[in-house]
Structure formats: C-alpha cells, structure tokens
Amino acid sequence: MPLIETFLAAYIMLTSVATLIISLYGVFYKPHLTKKIISITIFGDAVNIFSAIVGFRYIYPVAPPILLTENPTAQDLTNFLEVAVDPVPQALVLTAIVIGMAVVSFMVFLALNVFRIYHTLDTRKIAEQRKRSEE
Amino acid sequence: MNLKKSIVPIFLAFVVYVVFSGSLSIYDISTGIVVAIVAGLLFSEILVKNVSKSLSLMRLGHLIRYAFYYFFVAEVQAHLDVIKRILNPKMPINPGIVRVPYEVSSDYAIVGVAGSIINTPGTVVIDIDEEKKLYYVHWIDVSTQEPGKCRQAICESFEKYLTKVFD
C-alpha cells in the first residue's frame, strides 16, 4: 500500500479511537444527564464506524456482499469472493443500530422521569436535593 | 371498513410498492397486493372522505389537464419571470408578505393550491388561516397589497383548475 494510504488508514483509526475516548469522557465527567445520553449515542456510533472500517477491503473493484445471480456457478462464487467485502461487521452493526436506538429511548424515558421528580437533569443539583431531603 | 373508499389508496400503495421494489416478478406483485391492501385499508378513513369523488374519472382527467397546464405553462412563466429578475443588473425585486384569499373548500384543493404556489418560483405560502380563508404568501415582487388583485396575480388560475378536480 502506498505511504499516503497507510497514513490515511492510520488517521481514520486514530479518529475513531479518539471519538471513543472523548465520548467516554463525556459519559463520566459531564454532569448533565442529557449530555451523558448524547455521549453514549456517540460511543455507539463510533464503535459502529470502527466495525465498518474493520470490514472494508482495500481493493478495486469492491462490491457489497450480495450475490446478483440466483443460480451461481462455481466461477460466479470465485469472482464474488474476490470483490465482496466482509459481511460479518455489517451484520453486527445492523442490529446494533436498532437495539442502540431502543436502549437510548429507554434511557430517555428514565431521564424524563428523573426530570418529573427533581425538576432538573443536572446530577449535582439532584444530589443536593437528595441530601436536603434526607436531613 | 368501506372497501370502495380504499380503492384509490390501494392503487396508490401498489404503484409505490412496485416502483420502489423495481421489479415485476410474481413475488413482488403478490406481496405488493397484500401490502397495498393492508396499507390502503389502514389509510382509507383518513385519506378519502367522499367515495364518488375519489373514483370519478372526469376528475382524474381534469387533474391530468391541470398537471400539463402547471408544468408547461405556469411553471415556465414563473421561471422566466424569476430568471429575468436575476439577470437584470438592477435586480428589480420588491419582496414582502401579502394576504391572498382563496375560495376552494375541500382539504385537498386547499393543499393543492398551496403546493402549486410554493412550487412556482417567486411565491411561497408561509401560513394559512382556515377560518378567514387566507394564505399568507411571500412574494418576490409585491406589486399590489389589495387581496383581490393578489389573488388574481398569484393563485386564481390554479384555483380554477383545482376546483374542478377536488371540489
């Protein structure tokens, strides 16, 4: 692989890892629950992009993992194996997106209920209110 | 559930399904029929209010005539007008929002006229008052503020055709 493309591949990997770490930072250190939820969605998306890159093939021509004939011969299958990308990460990402959406909606429900009880989503203020009510 | 009511929605749904699937195999047509019947029955109540209107071929003919008029006469005129304004070095625009009364009564006709106004360049419907029967239209060249004359300039030709189609 030429040098510039090695550099670009490393750059993409670095970016996705950096996104992962920044979203972890958001989950741990941002006091607002909405920002925590947003960080978790960013975390999920970063993982999905990372898996999509893992499945990519650096060749030309490259094709999606779908056979276009309904009665493939052995020759068709050999050609298919030469151009098709890795389908396993795609399958993982496919379900992860929808399940991630359901889990995020559950977190939103919980956050909404927290807001109804405490009238705020800031964890510092919630802790304060809890301390006051215990006294 | 009224089956007659859902004939037009079923047809619409079937055409969309087959066009989106992009093939005419037995599988696509049979699943298309099933999906179209389910979707059509679900949406028949909210899409169709008057059965005889929805099945009238004369109205369909008027709709096709209106489509020809709209795409080949009204649109061309409006585009030429805006092109002239753009190419003119003085840029003779006088934008503003005017009240435009309308006289059509059915939902689809109101929406059709509004859509026609929006899709022609130079005019955009930004709000509607159903009780006073008024569109609020942003117009590129406010030559008059009198509602009657505005109507004549902006939407009278559309209403003339769409009354025959939907009212």
Binding site: I21, E70, T95 | Y27, L47
Partner: protein, 274 residues
Amino acid sequence: MNTKTVISLLVIISSLLAISYAIADQATGVIPQTGLRNLASFYLENTLNPSNKSYWTASPEATSAIVWDYRGFDTFFETSVFYLAIVGCTLVFELYEPPKSKTTKQTELGLTIIVKVITKIVGILIVCVSASIALHGQLTPGGGFQGGAALAVLPILFIITMSRFALDRKVNDTSMIIIRALGLCGIGITVILPLFLGFITNNNAYIIQNQMKPDALVSLPSTIADKMMGGSLWMLNVSEYIAVGAGFTLAFLLLSLPERSFKKILEEEKYATY
C-alpha cells in the same frame, strides 16, 4: 480529586490503552485489509451455493444470512434486548388512564392543514416503502430491523403534525402491545418450527435451523413464488419488521404523553415533595 474522578480517569486510560494495543497488535487484522478473513469467506462462499447445499441459507444476501441464520441465536437475544427495553419504557410510564384531549376539534390540534394532508399522503408511502425494505431483506440490503426503523418514522410524523390525540382511536398503547406481541410470536414460532418438522418427519432438527444440515435433514422452503426466500430469513424478517415497528410506535406514543397527566399523578403520590 476524589476517588470517583480517579477511577473514571483510570477506566478511560485503560480502555484507550486496550483499544490501541488491540489495533497495534493487529487483533482486527491489517486495516484496511485486502484479503478476506476465514470466517467471512466461509459465509460468502456458502450463503448461496447450489452445488454444495450442506451449509447454505438459500439467500443471496450474506449479511441477512449471517444475521438470521449463521448467527441467528445472537440476533434472537438482541431482539430480546429490544423487547426488554420497550417493556422497561412501558413500565416507567405506566398510566392507568390515558389522558383525553381537551378539545374535540381536530383543527385545533397540530400544525396547519397543508402539513396534515401532505403527512397523510406521505404516511401511506412510508408503509409501502418500509414493507418493501422488510420483504426484500433476503435479496437486497434491508430486512426486518431496517424496515421497522423506517416504519417508526410514521408515528413520529403523525404525532408532530396531528398531535397524539388524532391517533388515539386505532393506534393506542394496547393495540401496539398486541401487534408487537404478534411479531414476537412470529419469531418464536419460526424458531421452533424446525423442531416440529423434525418431529413429524422423524429427523434430527435444531432450533433456528433454516436449511438442511448434514446431520439434520429438515429444511424450510427455499423459494417463494419465483424468488429466493431463504426459508426462515423471510419469516423472521417479516416478524421482526412488525415487532420493531410496533415497539418503536409504542415508545413514541408514550414519549408524547402530555406532561399534565404525569403532574397529576406525581402530586397525588407526593413525589413532588423533593
């Protein structure tokens, strides 16, 4: 710095190190790869192989084949995660009496008539397009998850443009729970179906089996009309489409409940003292 901050910092740094080590040590292989991993080439070679049917799935779409056949058990449990998330949503927002609209006039609810009529027309198109995505999951990119997610756009559009109360007669919490349960039942039946077939024909059979394996000669139909069907892939896609669509509709219906109904309950239960 308190202990919590230190622990979070340690977690972040250790995960950074772990991911970096994994990539640098090529645990994921060279990125981007030029060849294929062994697992991928096995799936791609066998998904639609008429000459060697011992591991085939009768579906030209390798991704769908992995999702519902080769790794079908994973997806089965992912579906149960989805199911539990929606169950959690309904439990958190449990209301014995759903609120009624203050006005009965439809014109006072939601956006202007232009938006409403256009949304109605777009609604029927969304149903058709999402059904097409789900029903062609075994042939082209798409399937139950994607079709269901596309269908879930519909309730959002309707709730925003016409308000939740316009939906209440046909589309309410109870009917959505029933429809979602039907979809999940479809998945359950498809999963157990090979066992029944094996029992009748006196053969070995596995759970979530699709086409015949060397030691289990039970297989679900491989074609439907004139297209490849992929046996259980088609049935599972349709069931998942219904389950995901209805589940998300339920979640959005609950999210759009007006605040006033909860205020009343919270005041009654004296949560509001905090």
